[in-house]
Every structure is written in structure tokens, then in C-alpha cells.
Symmetry: C2
Subunit: 228 residues, 2 copies
């Protein structure tokens, strides 16, 4: 993005003043029954979507913008993960990591298909990216059990089987159909749309919509909005 300067500076940063800031996003989606992350290719490398925030910008806003610019994706859920400080030959950098979650359908947006990496396959990324990805997976799995974050992985309207398949893809294990359904009925977060989906040679499924619960779904995220 930044063009090389024509003067004598060897490093891209001058270490006397503040660090460079690097926002990275671990963006998840579920496709073909498996968890995927966005790993766009740049200069032959696959890296997490990343970029620099500007000074007047809240970090959450920057993360959204960076994600849009580097993948074309408008995310639906974004949460700060952690910040780390790295000092190497490229200078001092603060990396602020985000966890994001989107619904993505191959039909409607085939053009970004190549940015998605199936997490069942080998990850070939840098050490920092790998750590952030592993941590984000742990967090996403944990949040699945006590928040409604999973709905961001689904279209506005979905069947209970699709919801269950999403959970199974993230958790990488099979769940019991009856218990699963009972859980969500009890949680009172589903609203039947009344319509059905006729699919193949079998009984049609009822379609549901997510109904926001009264108590907010973000327990462990700052209750304020990161405004500058």
C-alpha cells in the first residue's frame, strides 16, 4: 500500500517515535461443512487480512475498513482479541488482533472464494498469524456455547439442521439432533418464519430467523463502543 520512500531511511519506521500499528483480522466462515478463515494472497504469501489504522479512527472501525479493503467482505461480527508488541528488523509494531465472523455463500459471492482457507487443511502462514488463528479458534469455540455468535455464520433465515451443521463444523464433533433442538427452543432465540424449504426428496424443513435475546450476547467484550 505505502510506496517506498526515495530517501536514506533504511527501515520503514523510525524507532524514536511511536510504533507502527498493525490490525489483523481472523475472519471465520463456515463452508462445505467446515470452518474456514480468510487468508488472502498478497505477493505470493497468504496472510491474515491486515492494515494500518489511522490516528483519528477507532480500532473497531479500522478493523472493519481494513477487512473490507483487503477482502471485499463486510463483516457482521467483530471482536477484539489481543494486542502484542513485536520488535524486529522491520521496526517496532503493535499488532491488534480481531476475531470476525461472517456468513458467506459461494453462490452469491463466488469472487472471494479463493481467500477462504479450509481449516482442516495445513496452515502455511507466519508464526504470529498461526498463534492468532489458534487462539481465535479457541475463543470462537468457547463463545459458541454461551453466546449467539453462531447466527452470524448463517443467512438471515435457516433451518435447524443448518444451524446444527454450523455448530458441528466449528466444534468439529457431532451433536445429538433432539438435544440440540431442545436447547435452542428453550433458549428462546429462534422465531419460526412460517415458511418451509423444500429441498430434495424428503420432508421440507421449517425456516427460522434469529431472535435477539433480551440479555446481550457479548459477555466478555467491552460493553462500550471503541470511539475515539
Amino acid at each position: 500500500m505505502t510506496s517506498p520512500k526515495p530517501n536514506t531511511v533504511t527501515h520503514t519506521r523510525q524507532p524514536a517515535s511511536g510504533p507502527a500499528v498493525d490490525v489483523r483480522i481472523v475472519l471465520f466462515t463456515v463452508a462445505h461443512g467446515a470452518l474456514h478463515i480468510a487468508l488472502p494472497e498478497a505477493k505470493g504469501l497468504r496472510r491474515l487480512p491486515h492494515g494500518e489504522p489511522t490516528s483519528g479512527e477507532a480500532l473497531d472501525t479500522a478493523a472493519r475498513r481494513i477487512l473490507r479493503h483487503s477482502t471485499g467482505i463486510h463483516e457482521q461480527y467483530l471482536e477484539q482479541l489481543s494486542t502484542l508488541s513485536v520488535d524486529d528488523t522491520a521496526g517496532w509494531t503493535l499488532t491488534v488482533a480481531y476475531l470476525g465472523v461472517v456468513w458467506w455463500s459461494a453462490e452469491s459471492e463466488p469472487e472471494v472464494a479463493s481467500t477462504w482457507h479450509d481449516l482442516r487443511r495445513r496452515l502455511d502462514v507466519g508464526e504470529t498469524d498461526r498463534m492468532l488463528i489458534h487462539y481465535a479458534i479457541v475463543r470462537l469455540r468457547a463463545k459458541l456455547s454461551y453466546t449467539t455468535i453462531a447466527f452470524h455464520l448463517l443467512p438471515p433465515t435457516f433451518t435447524l439442521s443448518e444451524l446444527q451443521q454450523t455448530y458441528e463444523a466449528v466444534l468439529e464433533r457431532r451433536l445429538d439432533k433432539r438435544n440440540f433442538r431442545r436447547r435452542f427452543v428453550a433458549a428462546n432465540v429462534l422465531a419460526a418464519t412460517g415458511t418451509q424449504r423444500r429441498d430434495g426428496s424428503h420432508r421440507p424443513a421449517l425456516l427460522y430467523r434469529f431472535r435477539a435475546p433480551h440479555d446481550r450476547d457479548s459477555y466478555l467484550t467491552p460493553p462500550w463502543s471503541d470511539e475515539a
Copy 2:
């Protein structure tokens, strides 16, 4: 801290390069049956312990150092909370907030008594500090229920009543003695020391020691160490 420059720069930072970095620590302890936070006084203001990390330093290390320098306290548990970006007349700053927890006894370290603020009393701090404190309290309460973080609020050896009083102080509600004790026995995190404590005109209490559980107590914290 930074003295005003004699030249034409109006802001303390030059916005062209990276931001200033500010590490703040919300440090908790329990005293007199109530949750307290460290709010040392500087220039008439009470602010969270804070300072700047250096470029070669991991953020966790910086937080420990800053806490030591600004309060004299060696913390026992420290965890990154969140990072936010603020751009005002003082320039652009990234604030990295930490949650810390210590055991503190008025007898052994009376000199730092004045830095502790009883959270039952009114908080008179800046807006950012207030947000961070509120968020840290939410997190601390949540973590109490599914981690062993509470042991960092206690001396190496303690009675079950002291443990319960610590929980009650943090949660601000009374707990049932029998259920409380059963819970900790079942959790298998206590080791009886065999000794007793004779206290007043009543039956002496057994002393316990914390016994590290096999599964680690940090679920939601990055599993890596923030090394540069």
C-alpha cells in the same frame, strides 16, 4: 512526565509517525471485605497505574514493570483486557489495558495503603479509566466463577471462610457456606495444610493451600506468552 519542548511543536507527539503507547493496569485486591483497585495519586489526580512500554519489551513485561514503578506492587496475576485508540489534543495514543490481581495485607505493606480505592465508594477518575475499571470488574467477576483467579487475592495459606469472604467481596453478594465448601472440595483445588488457626473465642479453622489444577486456569487468555 514529558517536559514541554521549547520549539514550535504544539502537540507532544508528531502524528506522522506511530502513536504513543500507554499501558494501564486495573489492579484489584480485597481488603476489609471489599474489592479495591490501585489508584495512585499523581499531581492531585487519581489515575490507574500507567506508563509507556519500550519497543523491545513484551507488553506483559511492560505492564509488570509499570505497575512496580508506579505502585511498588509486584503483581501475581496479569491479563490483557483490551486496547483502544484515542486521538485528542494530546496526540494519538494507543491504550493497552490490563487486569491484575494481588493479595495485599495492610500489616505487611502499610505504605501502599493510600493507593487502594474502595470500590464501594465513588470513583472520581477520567472517562477512559472509568470504562476500563467497569469492564475489568465484569471480567473479574466472570472469571471468578470458572477459574482459580481468586487464589491470587489470598495469602499462600488461608481458611475456607477467608476464601468465601473473598468471593463475597468481589461478587457483592452472600454465598451459602455449605454449598461453597462443597464446590471447592469437589473442584479438588484445595490442599489441607494440617495446621489450624486459632483466632478468637470460637472453634479454630483449618488452613488450606491452593493446589494447582491439572487443567490450566486460563481459558480465555492467549495460551502463548507475549514475547517480542
